[in-house]
């Protein structure tokens, strides 16, 4: 068992680290000063080696379950030739100069399944640089050529003379040496950690209740704030009466903020009791008042009108008109809540010229800017401690920093006189907006007389996630938000005439990316419609896809691997009397990772159904940690299945109807299928795995339900007639 300790993970270390951070604030590059205790060697922003032989890896990405606090250290340890047991992981501070996401330009943040993809070389170089300096220090000390020195599992060795030294013994000397500009990285055949399972660095603390989440932060004198939000998006406070609230034991203050009325108490329960009896009159002049049926009918009208072109190959309309066989289908996808297990929260301590934040921090640069704007300080004066997030699925990377700005407003309203922990209840979290948008799609396809597809047309209607955000200029081109059409505009199938167009209506419901973003809806429409075309052509679903993917070797690779491993084409074992069984497949690329899944379902006589087994094949380039990859596929399948079976946020007269898990059900263990994951061996650069497992399961299940029942389901969540 690995005995890693994580600097920001255990409560005792956290308190030490917290004190260190506060002092360090006045120093530039505070985190280096925070190194703490023993003299240390820090050749770059990512590695610190202590004279106690500890190797601290500074992780620039949030650990929200996807395994970054294991994957990033693996990359450093590989090139450093460290012993896994000597590693510690520490969350990086907010400082985009050193910790930017290399795929996001100058911004620091975690998302788009990019943590390993953007860090693969950077972290390895960090490790290799440190290794080269340790070797140089040993060469100097032993008066031998550097080339005669080897390093293995944390030990520097000169075999000819039998001399050895641990990293800690060389740290002080290495720190005096110049940092080399060039380092040579290992060849893949020399990898000792990459490609093999190393244990997660967060298992122990998360298994013993000592892992530190934002919800667990307690600062001296800290107040807990709950905010009464308007019942409808766009509502504002007109007036409030806090007389009864202030009489509640433990309530300390009640203040208006732009997003509502904040009740501050000595603990959660006091603030909650206080908020329960608060009277607020809302100004709903600008409030959003549509219900889901009205939104859907407006969108349906748009389905009949041409949208902005996202892809045009040939002439799909003409080819459709001339096709021997034509199919059409309309799809409907609801709003979805992220519903991470840790409801949204953050802790803020605001001073005159500094503000310290504790958060499951996913978008440092945007959050620094937005908090600084509220407090009238500079972004670099917003110091952010990145704690574990109890899930996020995209929600904590809010381009408007919604809950962080709310906390900053509360801190401002009380003039920073106490640290504040803002807690959203589960109901606040579910009502709080920033959903996966509601989308409608219209698909049309044409087959020639030989059953070959000759035309494909796809129209998408739904809000732009990026409009009005800092990402708009980069991600919205000529009126097309890339995240609205990803997975559709890049349709891999070889069809001569393709048209994809888009309507992005504006609506007063706040929306945001949700684990796998555009692919959450595009993969379903594309992969069930291609299945429908295969059926209409009288062809096997795998054969039909295979013939259209000749130019897409990696799609083809996972498609065939999943099909073979699942026994595609063999008979399924029959169910019990009255039950129907079926098998379905889907393949999809998202974030440059390729995934195929085969789902087996059983439909009961009452129309209820269960997913029994899922065989998943994934190609994410070099598999840094195959076990973490499998875990992300398993979890992604469960997450996607929750949406397929249940996920639906609905509005009535502008009010969100769901509040908590009884009316927004998540997947439970008895609904989790058996999952087998097969990872494709690859020498390509590694790509992400946090999201790509999610979008494939719903179409695979829908195709399996068709195989079992003959019913084509085009509306999520899936309900059989």
């Amino acid at each position: 068992m690995n005995e890693l300790s994580i600097a920001n993970a255990s409560r005792r270390d956290f308190l030490k680290a917290s004190a260190g951070l506060t002092l360090a604030f006045y120093l530039p590059s505070g985190i280096a000063a925070k190194a703490g205790g023993a003299a240390s060697f820090a050749p770059n922003a990512f590695v610190r080696i202590g004279s106690d032989d500890s190797v601290t890896i500074v992780a620039k990405h949030l650990e929200m379950g996807q395994g970054t606090y294991t994957g990033l250290p693996t990359l450093v340890a590989e090139e450093l030739d460290a012993d896994w047991a000597q590693l510690r992981v520490e969350g990086a501070p907010a400082d985009a100069k050193r910790y930017n996401n290399l795929l996001w330009g100058k911004m620091q943040g975690t998302g788009g399944s990019s943590a390993i993809a953007n860090s693969f070389e950077q972290m390895r170089r960090a490790g290799a640089t440190a290794r080269a300096m340790l070797v140089a220090a040993a060469a100097q000390r032993w008066q031998v050529p550097a080339a005669a020195i080897t390093v293995r599992r944390g030990v520097v060795m000169h075999t000819a003379s039998g001399r050895t030294a641990r990293f800690g013994e060389l740290a002080a000397a290495a720190a005096q040496l110049p940092v080399p500009e060039q380092v040579t990285l290992k060849s893949p055949q020399d990898f000792v950690y990459i490609g093999k399972r190393v244990p997660r660095t967060d298992s122990k603390s998360k298994t013993h209740g000592t892992a530190m989440y934002t919800q667990d932060v307690q600062l001296p004198g800290m107040l807990v704030a709950l905010v009464a939000h308007p019942p409808r998006f766009g509502g504002k406070v007109k007036s409030f009466d806090a007389a009864r609230t202030k009489a509640v034991r433990g309530v300390v203050d009640v203040v208006a903020v732009p997003s509502g009325v904040a009740v501050l108490g000595r603990d959660f329960w006091s603030a909650k009791r206080g908020r329960d009896v608060l009277k607020v009159v809302w100004d709903e002049a600008a409030a959003f008042r549509l219900g889901t049926p009205e939104i859907v009918s407006r969108y349906q009208a748009l389905l009949d009108q041409p949208g902005i072109v996202a892809r045009k190959d040939g002439d799909a309309a003409a080819a459709l008109a001339g096709a021997a066989k034509r199919l059409t289908a309309d799809y409907s996808f609801p709003f979805l809540a992220h519903a991470a297990m840790e409801p949204l929260n953050c802790v803020i301590r605001a001073g005159a010229d500094l503000c310290e934040v504790w958060n499951g921090e996913q978008f440092q640069t945007g959050d620094q800017d937005n908090i600084a704007a509220v407090l009238g300080i500079k972004p670099e004066q917003v110091w952010i401690n990145m704690l574990y997030a109890g899930g996020s699925f995209g929600r904590r990377a809010n381009p408007h920093s919604d809950y962080l700005v709310e906390a900053a407003q509360i801190a401002k309203a009380i003039r920073g006189r106490a640290p504040v922990k803002l807690v959203w209840t589960r109901e606040d979290d579910m009502h709080g907006g920033y959903y996966r948008p509601l989308y409608l799609h219209r698909l049309a396809g044409g087959l020639d007389a030989g059953g070959r597809p000759v035309a494909w047309s796809q129209r998408i209607v739904g809000q732009s996630i990026q409009a009005g955000t800092a990402f708009e200029s980069a991600m919205v081109k000529a009126g097309v938000d890339r995240t609205s059409v990803e997975g559709a505009a890049n349709l891999p199938y070889a069809i001569p005439n393709i048209s994809v167009d888009l309507h992005s209506p504006k609506l007063g419901v706040p929306v945001q990316w949700w684990r796998s973003v555009g692919s959450t809806h595009t993969a379903f429409a594309v992969e069930t419609f291609i299945d429908e075309l295969a059926h209409a052509a009288g062809k096997d679903a795998v054969q039909f896809r295979r013939a259209l993917l000749a130019q897409h070797a990696r799609h083809l690779g996972v498609l065939e691997l999943a099909a073979n491993q699942a026994g595609w084409g063999s008979a399924l074992a029959p169910g019990k009397a009255g039950e129907k069984r079926g098998r379905g497949i889907a393949v999809h690329e998202s974030f440059n990772t390729f995934v195929a899944q085969v789902a087996e379902v059983t439909v009961r006589p009452d129309g209820g159904f269960g997913v029994d087994r899922v065989v998943c094949a994934v190609d994410c380039g070099i598999a840094v940690n195959p076990d973490v990859i499998s875990a992300q596929m398993e979890g992604g399948i469960g997450f996607g299945l929750a949406a397929a079976l249940y996920g639906e946020i609905t509005l009535k007269d502008g009010v969100v109807e769901e509040s908590n898990f009884p009316d927004y059900p998540l997947l439970r263990i008895n609904e989790m299928p058996q999952v087998e994951v097969h990872v494709v061996a690859s020498a390509e650069k590694p790509t992400g795995v946090g999201e790509p497992g999610v979008p494939v399961i719903a179409p695979a299940v829908a195709n399996a339900l068709f195989a079992a029942t003959g019913q084509r389901l085009c509306k999520l969540p899936l309900r059989l007639a």
């Binding site: 298992s203 209740g209 807990v224 603990d267 998540l666 263990i669």
Partner: protein, 151 residues
Amino acid sequence: MLTLNVNGVHHRVDVAADMPLLWVLRDRLGLTGTKYGCGVGACGACTVHIEGKPARACRTPASAAAGKRVTTIEGLHSRAAKAVQAAWESLDVVQCGYCQSGQIMTAASLLAANPKPSDADIDAAMAGNLCRCATYHRIRAAIHDAAKRLA
């Protein structure tokens, strides 16, 4: 004033009688391993043991726990619990980890009552504990693994 016996230690706490045990544990006693997930007893993140039986701390008024033996993840030392935690670590069950204290509390109770549970027994016992990361596949495997460790 209430007297609570938590993890074998007696605490005198001055709280409203209706304050849920969850918030007494977290905000007054600093035992933050027990998590808030829903507040309505629907997710299991707040699972503790009261007199050895799993209970939802968010729906248990502090007064109802007074005078009873309360065990949280921090005080979980039974043989079954140690097997569960060892299995959880060896299979790397956790992802975000937020629900896992509750999962482990329930799994430890299951194994204490049923040392060799079937998949169906596991599903029945664990269905009240939500995991948004859907680590269920490994939870099942880890409970079987823990059962082997106990055998």
